[in-house]
């Protein structure tokens, strides 16, 4: 982990993050825009679902980032617990709202997609319920983290909750395999999507991921700047 340790120095992190933020952000936006355009214009409709299948290009990346976001948050929390690097808790704090937004987007696009295909906005099946729980866990983590910061806690409680929350990830992922659900099984990793319909998904998947990383770096820089301001104000008040 020497590379990570080197990055844990906030000054060095900022030197790298500053130029990287706009690159990730804008490259992500361009890839998403192209992927969406290709998904709307260049791909054929699905044999059964017709045009409604196109929401896939937003729904799948949202699900990926909703779950990937919590993986990132849990890794940050874990490394905060082990190495006590303050930058790790900054990273967790930066990821949480971004991950929660994509989890919400996943639920929303899924609901819109479910209405024409399944005939329902919402059903309490294993996949839908576990994803909704993940969204609630994000909200709970944000609330807990704020409460901890307000009481000038050391961040250990939210970090523990972040690690424990990763118990939901295998449940969301395997829900469609363990249980019979209304939601269909794995399509992307098992290669059940025709190549002519699949390729724009890689643009939106990659694009949303870069965009997510750009937003997280942006938020981390903002949190670090805020901490600097608060420290300076405290020093001035003390003087």
């Amino acid at each position: 982990m020497p590379a990570l340790h080197a990055l844990a120095n906030p000054a060095r992190f900022l030197r790298i993050a500053r130029p990287l933020t706009p690159i990730l952000f804008w490259l992500g936006v361009v890839l998403v825009a192209f992927g969406c355009w290709a998904g709307l214009m260049l791909t054929p409709p699905d044999a059964l679902q017709k045009e409604s299948v196109r929401i896939l290009y937003i729904h799948v990346p949202s699900a990926w980032l909703g779950m990937g976001g919590w993986s990132g948050l849990a890794i940050a929390c874990l490394s905060y617990l082990i190495w006590r690097h303050p930058l790790a808790s900054v990273a967790a704090r930066a990821i949480a709202p971004a991950g929660a937004t994509f989890a919400a987007l996943c639920l929303l696009t899924g609901s819109i997609w479910g209405r024409p295909t399944w005939g329902t906005w919402w059903e309490w099946d294993g996949r839908l319920t576990s994803m909704l729980l993940l969204f609630f866990v994000y909200i709970a983590w944000i609330a807990l983290d704020r409460a901890d910061a307000d009481r000038s806690g050391d961040g250990r409680v939210p970090a523990l909750f972040g690690v424990a929350g990763s118990a939901l990830l295998p449940i969301v992922h395997y829900s469609v395999i363990w249980w019979n659900t209304l939601h269909q099984g794995e399509s992307v990793v098992t290669g059940k999507i025709a190549p002519s319909m699949l390729w724009p998904l890689f643009f939106t998947l990659g694009g949303f991921t870069l965009f997510f990383a750009g937003v997280v770096l942006m938020r981390m820089r903002a949190i670090l700047a805020n901490q600097k301001v608060e420290a300076r104000l405290r020093r001035m008040a003390a003087a």
């Binding site: 791909t43 617990l81 399944w118 059940k192």
Partner: protein, 144 residues
């Protein structure tokens, strides 16, 4: 052992325990967390007559019968091992077709049939353009 190594080992053990426990607990929930009964699940067992339940499977080929009143239909749900006749009155989703997946909400009757008050279409994990689909979606019902 340095304190941070101790924490590393402890934290990784805890993470492994959490993931393992959740995976074990949830896969043990198999039956309780099922969204629907498959026809084979109720075959030869006492039917859950007292509860509003869901029945899922494939709509058997050639089984959909439109009733003269125009809004009632009868069809057969199968999972390859057992069959359940279903009666339903109302509007079905667009994807409700013979040979594709369905989840019916309603009650089992003492004679083993099922009266549905809502029909959901369940599609499989395959996505393909119309010209490639042809018989692909149909083979699924034969496999099962």
């Amino acid at each position: 052992m340095k304190a941070k190594h101790q924490r590393l080992v402890l934290a990784l053990l805890a993470l492994g325990a959490i993931l393992g426990a959740s995976a074990l607990a949830m896969s043990a929930l198999k039956d309780q967390a099922a969204f629907f009964y498959a026809p084979a699940d109720v075959k030869g067992k006492p039917l859950p007559l007292d509860r509003h339940v869901r029945l899922g499977g494939m709509v058997e080929k050639g089984s959909i019968q439109r009733q003269p009143d125009g809004v009632s239909i009868r069809f057969v749900v199968t999972d390859g091992q057992a069959k359940v006749p279903v009666a339903f009155r109302g509007v079905t989703p667009d994807l409700f077709k013979e040979g594709s997946g369905v989840v019916a909400e309603g009650r089992f009757q003492p004679d083993g049939s099922f009266i549905a008050d809502n029909i959901l279409a369940k599609h499989d994990e395959r996505y393909m353009p119309p010209q490639a689909a042809g018989n692909m979606h149909e083979t699924k019902s034969l496999e099962q």
